[in-house]
Symmetry: C2
Subunit: 183 residues, 2 copies
């Protein structure tokens, strides 16, 4: 991980977020970002495969997979997914700073970005569904459980982004609790 490249990458990301917030995402071209960061647009694309990807990072999949797998297989799949995601959440550092909220809002307010964010989510969902299937769940049930839990997680994140106050954690926990089978 050479440091010059890493510095350029960080600079691009920082500058991009700032410009997107200032001028709006669509009104900011990749060229604007590159120029403001003092590089050419090619350098931008060497660090980020798409304009959207500069806003969206999501490296948590492996951890989630592990922790869902660690839940007892005699639970119903929905419950297993739920507990696994709760466990994953509680083992992560709270990333709920203001910059993250700004990022969530940026994404929430832009259909294209929302769609891309959902792609990440979908990858996680596929992973969770696969783990559930390995634990013996029928395919449909595995997918539904994964879809419902990830849907709830996303809802919590968007809800937190739209709110002005309060930490993310409790919302995530509350969202997953709501799937917990009380009626």
């Amino acid at each position: 991980m050479p440091s010059r490249a890493q510095a350029t990458r960080d600079r691009l990301q920082r500058v991009a977020l700032r410009l997107f917030l200032e001028r709006g995402y669509d009104a900011t071209t990749v060229n604007d970002v590159a120029e403001a960061a003092g590089v050419s647009h090619m350098t931008f694309f060497r660090h980020f495969p798409t304009k959207e990807s500069v806003v969206l990072d999501d490296p948590y999949d492996p951890l989630i997979g592990e922790l869902v797998r660690a839940q007892p297989t005699d639970l119903p799949p929905l419950e297993r997914a739920r507990r696994g995601l709760l466990a994953a959440w509680s083992s992560l550092p709270e990333p709920a700073d203001d910059e993250t909220r700004a990022r969530v809002r940026l994404v929430a307010g832009h259909p294209g970005l929302r769609a891309h964010a959902w792609e990440n989510n979908q990858r996680t969902e596929d992973l969770v569904a696969e783990v559930l299937r390995d634990g013996g769940a029928p395919r449909l049930e595995a997918r539904v459980a994964a879809g419902a839990c990830l849907g709830a997680l996303t809802a919590a994140l968007l809800d937190w982004g739209a709110a002005d106050d309060g930490p993310l954690g409790p919302r995530v926990v509350a969202a997953l609790e709501l799937l917990g089978g009380r009626r």
Copy 2:
């Protein structure tokens, strides 16, 4: 609904699906589709706002909103959403023909298309969440219920698309049943 325009639209959609299946989505340009349909690329974009939209139609939102709203407000939001979506489903014609399955597969196999399909889904989700809030549900709970139900629906659709046999309807019903609070 003038008939010439409608005919052109239908032709574009038919030709597009055929070419996408034959050559792949990315390898087919909008110009290819337009040319094969005997029109210019501008005509394509007059009928479909994006290349992706020619594959994705989704006019069911208003019905879903109505039917969720029609469920008793003294039910928990998740249950209300669940029953409303079940009602909406059972009042729709079964669209589960081979062409639809081909379409679902096309979408499932292409990240960009999946993302766009999710946008439609998100619109529906927002609508359902809003209806639930109108019925007195707290914001987070409304979003979670909507997210979980729509996630389950999508899972059912993808599951059906990936399978070789069987109708869609029962899968949808089964998916929503799985959210029905048994543990």
